[in-house]
Symmetry: C2
Subunit: 129 residues, 2 copies
DNA sequence: CGGTATCCGTCACGATACTG
DNA sequence: CAGTATCGTGACGGATACCG
């Protein structure tokens, strides 16, 4: 088997027609990463999620939550009262992924100062041409 | 200060007007995650990256690589020969982030079977209405 | 070979209004 | 309160052509 056995990394995600790619695009979407990150804090209602994630519209939030629910990463619980009350939380499947996302946050925020310097340098060089 | 001191997580990424958010959107973009993942294997030429990432157009690849280069996550080295030869690799700043992305791949691929079941169940319930 | 420029379609997204 | 429906815009993204 040699190399085949270990398959060092080379995920199938790189294949356009692979189910994992779709999940990746839900998770790593503009709002997906933020929703998962927010839900890591615990169960939240629709409006609370909306408030916690800055700048998301109702429509996009509903859409994002549905995609994540369909993938089994987020649990949706409706309480039949008036006015309606809907709770969102991470599933056991979704939690590790959300934690991975949180790890990315951490790294990116730590890197932010360096990134800003890099951007400034880059833009400067461009202007100098 | 109690809770305030630790600031459990609650990254500034959730603020729409924050530099980290922009970086996050580059990294967690459709092609950004894939490019970073591919470069983790080592230095690659433009064409090699294009081949490794399934389904990306030249335009989007160039655009993605530029954004990551501007953020200081990817290093671009031009060798002035004919025909042109351009190498791309991760910077010290970019590598940890790329590794975080790889971690997400792993998690998502492990989850894929469960996700497919969840999707089937979800779609079934919808149809049953 | 590794881009950049241009054109153009599509769909992601936001704003608004409405329902249960 | 938590959505769904509809519509309009603009950015994203692909195809093509051309330059260094």
């Amino acid at each position: 088997m040699g190399v085949t056995e270990a398959t060092p990394f080379r995920a199938n995600v790189f294949d356009p027609n692979c189910p994992g790619r779709g999940v990746m695009e839900h998770v790593a979407s503009r709002w997906g990463v933020l929703v998962l990150g927010v839900l890591l804090d615990g169960t939240l209602r629709f409006g609370e999620v909306r408030q916690a994630v800055g700048g998301v519209s109702e429509k996009m939030l509903a859409q994002t939550l549905q995609a994540l629910e369909r993938d089994g990463l987020v649990h949706r619980e409706v309480r039949p009262v008036i006015p309606p009350h809907v709770d969102y939380s991470l599933t056991d499947l979704g939690r590790p992924i959300a934690e991975g996302v949180r790890g990315l946050y951490r790294l990116i925020e730590e890197s932010t100062p360096s990134v800003l310097v890099a951007q400034a340098t880059f833009d400067e060089r461009r202007a100098a041409r």
